[in-house]
């Protein structure tokens, strides 16, 4: 892979530590307010916010593997499925359990967290399994293995009674709230940003730029690639678990290759390696269908285009990928972060990798 113009690494972190943690909240709050006032009513806003948060978690976590480490993974929905199903089954088991030393609401939240982390851990274990072949496989071949893994997960789920086969799981407690989703968005963004500037992160960047050279410099490439997979799939599992707890039903159809590709589009659109880029792209691509729907309704094409937005969305994603690769292959932000591309009059720190 040709080296993109990476900024020269500096020891000083670029983002002021205060801003690092607040960033996702800064992104979330205006959007939250917007929705509570605007579109659809509170239920719809809550749903849309949750979807958006889940998409952000997925995009940021996939960016760690695809963007930072340069290992093109196209089976992210598989990890999401593992998280969703494992946490769903856990929640169904824990449904009638209550921790007696806690108030009911608190007890529910604790159990919810337990099932979330359970789902995330199961996905991380799968990430470990998928990462291991990266010892021997590179580039395209690894991409195929991730694709195959995603499909295998889907078929396994489809054939397992405990997971409800093709019908899926229903009756999972609707414990998810935008607050919980944004707590995890906060965590994944924090983790990804801290990772990017750490020595572990630098090893990942090195693997992305030139695996052979990185190995020659003493980077344990396999170890780091496996770790990147585990890290990324843990959060994908969490995203799936959160998803399972706010939709009425999860079934294998929610975790197909198409879902994986949606996440890839987010990462590529935002710019491979840019955490803020992934966030912006995830928000944009979640809102785009809604925007298109309202636009078409406003134009008075009700009944035709407006109701078919979900149909039109996928071909548009495809064309978007092609146009993006032809016009701006590095994505919107390249490897830079949002604050690197902000207008000059806004306060900003010196450039650096971190």
């Amino acid at each position: 892979m040709e080296p993109p113009a990476l900024p020269v690494p500096e020891s000083r972190p670029l983002v002021p530590p205060s801003l690092r943690g607040v960033l996702p909240v800064l992104v979330a709050l205006p959007v939250l307010a917007l929705f509570q006032w605007g579109l659809g009513g509170a239920d719809f806003a809550t749903y849309l916010l949750s979807v958006m948060g889940v998409n952000i978690i997925l995009a940021v976590s996939l960016n760690i593997v695809n963007g930072m480490t340069g290992q093109f993974s196209i089976g992210h929905a598989g990890f999401m499925a593992v998280g969703a199903y494992i946490s769903g089954v856990l929640s169904l088991q824990l449904k009638d359990v209550a921790l007696s030393f806690l108030p009911v609401a608190a007890s529910d939240q604790v159990l919810f967290l337990v099932s979330l982390v359970g789902g995330g851990t199961a996905a991380a274990a799968c990430g470990f399994l998928v990462g291991l072949p990266s010892l021997r496989l590179r580039g395209d071949y690894l991409a195929i293995v991730t694709l195959g893994f995603g499909e295998i997960i889907r078929v396994v789920v489809q054939n397992t009674d405990a997971f409800g086969r093709a019908l899926g799981l229903s009756g999972i407690p609707q414990s998810s709230s935008p607050a919980m989703v944004y707590f995890w968005v906060f965590l994944v963004v924090l983790a990804a940003r801290r990772l990017a500037g750490s020595s572990h992160g630098r090893s990942l960047w090195a693997i992305r730029e030139d695996e052979v050279a990185a190995e020659a410099m003493g980077v344990d490439t396999t170890g780091y690639k496996v770790r990147a997979f585990v890290f990324s799939s843990f959060f994908a599992g969490i995203a799936g678990a959160l998803f399972a707890h706010f939709v009425p039903i999860i079934n294998p159809g929610s975790f197909t290759f198409v879902r994986s590709m949606e996440i890839v589009v987010m990462v590529v659109l935002g710019g491979l390696g840019s955490t803020t880029g992934a966030i912006v792209a995830a928000i944009f691509l979640t809102l785009l269908p809604e925007g298109m729907r309202s636009l078409f309704s406003a134009l008075g094409t009700e009944g035709s285009l407006a109701q078919r937005v979900d149909q039109i969305r996928m071909p548009i994603y495809g064309v978007l990928l092609v146009v993006l690769m032809l016009a701006r292959p590095q994505g919107l932000f390249g490897s830079k972060e949002l604050w690197d591309v902000l207008p000059r009059w806004l306060p900003r720190k010196r450039r650096g990798l971190a």
Binding site: I74, D140, N159, Y317, L326
Partner: protein, 306 residues
């Protein structure tokens, strides 16, 4: 025993069709080192071209040799042109870019085609599968015992066409000037250009050839499956792709062997286990092969250049 034989025949018949699609992947990968993710969808477009031709011909196309030839000719030529356009406008501008960009482009084209064809705006066919006209009337060609083993005529016809196309392709790659140019470009397209080989033309022709093959294979598949749908490209394409990788992508006989093996494995899973596990077994088999031989059965792992 008879059951085993029947599964063997069905598996081989499915395998030959996968093989033809897989050859397209392998040729393009051999020349460009690009996994042409859109190959299956190009095949789907070809099948729709054949479908439209068969309908335009009306009853003439039904079970007449000339009609079948016309359907195949239009689909394969149309598809070759389509492949040329994709190569010219989507892949050629990216030739000197990192390989990942071309892979992402290919995935984009695949999505645009398979989901675009599901719309029913204008000439687009819409999502629901359609019955493919019976251009070859299915007849039982060979019956052994008390219908223990049945060989259909379309199985024999597709096997013959597939073998013919494969032999032709092998001759083309190893016996003609164009084939030599293809191999040279595959070795190193920059040096090949210095040696006076028109690399752009060779790559474009390879694309057209692989697209035409895909259309042919897609028609055979449609005759067997008797239905066409916009998603068939994703499905058949993915399987053929798995076959190509199992055989060692870039290796022509490897693709054929990989496809036959995959066809047999799938048929036996469906026959003796459960059909719902078919896709998982195909991918599991792929991962297993890659773990043991990272370059596929016949592929070589190129030494990494530093």
């Amino acid at each position: 025993m008879a059951q085993l034989l029947q599964h063997l025949i069905n598996g081989l018949a499915a395998g030959t069709i996968y093989a033809l699609v897989a050859l397209g992947y392998t040729m393009v990968y051999g020349v460009l080192k690009l996994i042409n993710f859109a190959h299956g969808d190009v095949m789907m477009v070809g099948v729709y071209m054949g479908y439209a031709t068969a309908f335009a011909l009306g009853r003439e196309a039904r079970a007449s040799l000339l009609g079948v030839a016309a359907v195949f000719a239009v689909a394969m030529l149309g598809c070759a042109l389509f492949g040329f356009l994709i190569e010219r406008f989507a892949y050629r501008p990216l030739r000197e870019k990192p390989r990942l960009t071309a892979l992402i482009t290919a995935i984009g084209i695949s999505f645009a085609l398979s989901y675009g064809f599901q719309l029913d705006i204008g000439f687009l066919p819409g999502a629901s599968p359609r019955a493919f006209p019976e251009i070859i009337t299915p007849t039982e060609w060979l019956i052994i015992g008390d219908r223990d083993v049945v060989v259909w005529n379309w199985q024999v016809i597709s096997l013959l066409i597939a073998v013919g196309l494969m032999v032709g392709l092998q001759y083309l790659v190893f016996g003609t000037r164009f084939g030599r140019a293809m191999r040279a470009v595959s070795w190193d397209h920059r040096v090949a250009a210095l040696m006076g080989i028109p690399t752009d033309r060779v790559i474009a022709l390879t694309f057209m050839l692989s697209s035409a093959l895909a259309a042919g294979a897609g028609l055979l598949y449609a005759i067997k499956d008797t239905s066409v749908s916009p998603l068939m490209g994703l499905y058949v394409g993915l399987k053929a792709f798995v076959a190509a990788v199992i055989g060692g992508i870039g290796h022509v006989p490897g693709a054929v062997v990989g496809a036959l093996v995959l066809g047999l494995v799938e048929e036996f899973v469906v026959g003796y286990a459960a059909s719902t596990w078919r896709d998982a077994v195909a991918f599991g088999f792929l991962i297993l092969v890659l773990l043991v031989k990272p370059g596929g059965l016949f592929g070589r792992v190129a030494a990494e250049k530093v």
